[in-house]
Amino acid sequence: MFATSETLLILVILPPFISFALNGLIPDLRKNKKTSSGISILAIVISALSSIALVVINPDTDIVFEWIPLTSFSPIIFGFFIDPIVLIMFLIVSLVSLAVQVYSLDYLREESPLSFGRYYTFQSLFAFSMLGFVASLSLLQIYIFWELVGLCSYLLIGFWYTRPEASRAAVKAFWVTRFGDVGFAIGMVLLWGATGTFFLPELFIKAPEISNPFLTLSLFLIVLGAMGKSAQFPLHVWLPDAMEGPTPVSALIHAATMVVAGIYLILRLFPLFELTLDPLVFVMWIGTITALLGACLAIVQNDIKRILAYSTVSQLGYMMAALGAGGAGVAYFHLFTHAFFKSLLFLAAGSLIHSLHTSDIWSMGKLAKKTPQVTALFLIGSLALSGVFPFSGHFSKDEILMWMHVRGFTLHFIILLITAFITSFYMFRAFFVVFFGKGESTSGQEVQEVKTPWVMTLPMWILAVITIFAGFQAGNFFNFLGLRLEEVHTHLEYLPLIVSILGIALAWTFYQGRYLSSKNVAISLSPINTALEKKFWMDDVYLWAYRYVLDGLSIVCGWFDRYLVDGLVNFTAYYTKRASQKLRTIQTGHAQDYLYGIIIAILLLFFLSILSPYLSPFLNEKENSVEFSEQIIQKGLQDDDD
């Protein structure tokens, strides 16, 4: 058969790379809007179709090759493989990429051909890196693709690089995730040091032999990397700023795919995490804190993309918490549903921003009548995010909450429940203000028309359909992974749903019914409000560390180098010069002076020759050395005779 599973695997990963290479290397392709986007979309279509085919066949297959030859240690081997976890991720990445790339055709219509081509080149690179990351069979290879998706994120956040905010946000995202990667890199090397391999199957076999504090330490370090990539507290600060990139990029990279890489990493390494529990407990706490923190910060945001960004932070926290509680399956299910509804939300928000040229929710308003289509799409997304039945978010969030409850993590359960309440509140705050609000900040200007061509709405509707129906596939999802969906029946079963609806109701009271004034509440709770608006001063702490620790150390090193190390050098040079200037005055040019010198020298030699018998003990060495050199000369002469 032609389409063996190995060919299909190659057909998933390779086409985006070829597209990247073609667009990257041939300027003529890149400079033409049709060719650059055409190649890129064609490549991702092939990937998506192959992924679907693979999901249907569901084979076990791998491709393995040697990357770095070593002899005294086992060589470093790379490979790609498929298992159900990989396949689901293939599906998410290729489908959302496809949706986003099609959507971008219109979103970036006004760009010059050159930057349009640049966008699709980076998109292809991203798709390749993310697909490669997912299917990696070696920890080092995971790290490589991990960094490459980070690079794409950097390049695409900074896509509009002439805007200072965009270039700052790009660099910030790179630095913060890179800081986490310091931990990842060290942890990875430590694991290699203990097992002598990066190859995952081998690693899992040898891992139980690793002595425990060591294994715990390396896993903690790897978790640090995951926290950076998946925007977990306290390394979440880059994600809201990353919204400076084009909105489709936020939908793809900063909502659906790249930011879940940290969760995927822990999931992939779960056999290691099961050996020692401390890192998992840590992950659970970090996840819970992040979920709550992200939700709280989302309340006070006025930028629609930032609201969505903080909600992403919060939802990633849910996944982390579930992972930490041992619920790899439920975390993965939430990852799956979240990818679709969150990218839907971003794309819907993007279509508003695209037409209105603003992302401030108070400048929008009254959009429900103008664009019922986008309203419906955004509503579907919001309901899913809030966890309302029957949308997919309801099922996956419910699973996580029930998992926490049944496993007895009551405190975490309560915090996550409160978070669910806040989530539906902030989401519908945005919804009501944007679609039914009065458009308060527009200063009387009529809101422009919202244009929704089919290239934008079609991808959104596909995502919306998935969002509506994915929840009912929970059973199939778990079967596919080889897990069993737990049917939990407790008296708390309906609590999450009730909480969500309460949150929506509260948002309605504030922003739609206007029975309560949000401004009054903000004033009466002003310390909390300030703390939220200042993002708990976290950005300031990082800025302080950057300015005073990093720059401070650089000043110390630079100063030390220029003034002490170099100072010593220049000092020596200067005094050498001075001394030579002084010494040269000995050479006066007068014959008498030289005559004195000669006479003194002769006298000195004369006295020495008289004294030499008395000095002989001290001169012994010298005589020996003379003998030695004579020996050398004689030997040399003998050699010559030969």
């Binding site: 040697e66 990357w67 770095i68 030859p69 070593l70 002899t71 005294s72 240690f73 050159l114 080092l140 790290y143 490589i144 960094e147 490459l148 690079l151 950097y154 900074g158 690089y161 002439t162 805007r163 200072p164 965009a166 270039s167 700052r168 790009a170 660099v171 790179f174 630095w175 890179r178 800081f179 990667d181 310091v182 890199a185 060290i186 090397v189 430590l190 290699w192 040091g193 990093l550 720059d551 650089s554 000043i555 110390v556 090193c557 630079g558 100063w559 180098d561 220029r562 003034y563 190390v565 170099d566 100072g567 050098v569 220049n570 040079a573 200067y574 050398i632 040399g636 050699d639 010559d640």
Partner: protein
């Protein structure tokens, strides 16, 4: 004709020298012909380097392409050229950088004839060092590669505006810091002081081995007593370390590199600094294995200081060329750290890093030269938003910057990860942590510089243009090498590791 019968190494080494002599007899005003002559003889060397890369027999290993002619029998001096995997890698590096350097300095405004003569002489020296296995010959070539530098920087260099601040400001100003004369003199004096140490070390080997020969393979067989070995290694470490930019005798490097013309900066930071590291590994560690094991903790610890200190030093700079120069100090630390691990990963990584850093830093210096040519400035804070008008240069600069911070997919990562693995397996495994942190600090300063120069709104109104025509050659070739090696490192690691495994045979106890 078999491959053995061609004196291929002599062709590589002497081709630039012949080119230099031919240039002497050409009239000054034949500008194009002078350039083409220089290029032609460099291409001969490049072809030779590719030839030995292809025809080096990896299964046989060891020294190949041997040419041995006694010169002074009594003193044990011979014309002994050979190459193993390490030499081949570095010879290839030299040839690539020579050619790209010629293109980067294609527009030489004055005295171009003398410039090319000196550059070719210098390259002969570099080629010679990498393939000569007679210490006398080695030293001869070594000096040949160091001395032309004084003239090259002093005559064709550029002076930077450095305004010292603080309590020593006046004293520093008096030294003439930033001027090309200062840079040239400092570099030359430092390197000559280094050579003095090396010369003493060579005589020490000559006498204490009792063989009275300068032949490397003969000296390899001798085991000196430990005390002598230690002293000799310290001599070599200081001597070669000066050229390799070892802390705290590195300060010639930023001043010298910043003052040098583009091709010379590329050659010097790209290849000559590797000559120092090569000397430490080949002569120091190769001939004095016991001392290498004793002193490895010292060498490695200083290397770690180099990595972190160099990175912070680069962060402090606001002159683009100084940033690149300090980053070289930092990256040479990775080479020496790899060497100090004395295991397979570390040494493979060290040699790979020599190649990768050579290409990377040459790329960055070439781009700095281009930016200077277009914007007439090297002061980072006065630039901004250049990516709009020079997208090509921005792209290549970013590739160089990303290699520098060790991004996977580019060759710097392969080198760094190998050195990290080596460091963890070495006796002092804590080296790993500052080394990884060094890569993080590099990410901070390198991306910051890229952001300041290329991104954001445009700062000055002078119209800028992207590179044109031949100016693309150096960045394109160098970037392509970085990417190819990053994706498929086996191309170089195969020959390198063949020789490293043999090299490590000395340390097996």
């Amino acid at each position: 004709m078999t491959t053995e019968s061609i004196p291929i190494l002599s062709i590589i080494v002497l081709s630039p020298l012949i080119g230099a002599f031919l240039l002497i007899i050409q009239p000054e005003k034949w500008h194009m012909q002078i350039k083409l002559t220089a290029l032609l003889f460099s291409i001969v060397s490049l072809l030779g380097s590719i030839f030995i890369y292809i025809f080096y027999d990896q299964t046989a290993g060891g020294f190949q392409f041997i040419e041995q002619i006694p010169i002074v029998k009594n003193l044990g001096v011979s014309y002994y050229l050979a190459a193993d995997g390490i030499s081949i890698t570095l010879v290839l590096l030299t040839a690539i950088i020579l050619i790209t350097g010629l293109f980067a300095s294609w527009k030489m405004p004055f005295r171009s004839k003398e410039f090319y003569i000196l550059l070719l002489l210098l390259t002969t020296g570099v080629f010679g060092v990498f393939v000569s296995f007679d210490l006398f010959l080695f030293f001869l070539f070594y000096e040949l590669s160091v001395l032309p530098m004084y003239l090259l920087i002093g005559i064709w260099g550029t002076s930077a505006k450095v305004t010292p601040k603080g309590i020593f400001a006046n004293a520093i100003k008096m030294t003439g810091l930033g001027s090309k004369e200062y840079g040239a003199m400092k570099l030359t004096l430092y390197l000559l002081l280094g050579s003095a140490f090396i010369l003493v070390g060579f005589f020490g080997l000559y006498i204490f081995s009792g063989l009275h020969t300068f032949n490397y393979t003969a000296l390899e067989e001798v085991t000196l007593n430990k005390g002598t070995q230690n002293w000799l290694l310290i001599l070599f470490y200081i001597g070669f370390g000066t050229l390799a930019g070892v802390w705290p005798i590195h300060t010639w490097s930023p001043d010298g590199h910043a003052a040098a013309p583009t091709a010379v900066s590329m050659m010097h930071a790209g290849v000559l600094m590797k000559l120092g590291a090569y000397g430490i590994i080949r002569i120091g560690m190769g001939l004095l294995p016991d001392a290498a094991e004793t002193l490895a903790p010292l060498i490695g610890t200083v290397a770690v200081i180099n990595i972190v200190y160099g990175a912070f030093g680069a962060m402090w700079q606001r002159d683009l060329k100084y940033v690149v120069a300090y980053s070289s100090v930092s990256h040479m630390g990775i080479v020496l750290l790899g060497a100090a691990t004395l295991n397979e990963m570390g040494l493979n990584g060290a040699i790979f890093q020599m190649f990768s850093h050579g290409i990377m830093t040459a790329l960055l210096f070439a781009l700095v030269g281009l930016i200077y040519e277009k914007a007439h400035s090297r002061e980072i804070l006065k630039m901004g938003g250049f990516a709009k008008s020079m997208p090509g240069i921005a792209t290549f600069f970013l590739i160089g910057a990303l290699t520098s911070l060790g991004l996977p997919g580019l060759s710097g990562f392969v080198a760094e990860i190998l050195v990290f693995l080596g460091a963890w397996k070495s006796p002092l495994s804590w080296w790993l942590i500052p080394a990884v942190l060094g890569a993080f600090i590099t990410a901070v300063y390198v991306l910051r510089v890229a952001k300041w120069i290329f991104f954001g709104p445009k700062k000055n109104s002078t119209p800028l243009k992207d590179a044109i025509g031949y100016e693309w050659i150096a960045p394109t070739v160098l970037s392509a090498i970085l990417i190819v090696l990053g994706v498929y490192p086996k191309l170089l690691l195969d020959p390198i590791s063949t020789s490293i495994v043999e090299f490590l045979g000395k340390f097996v106890k």
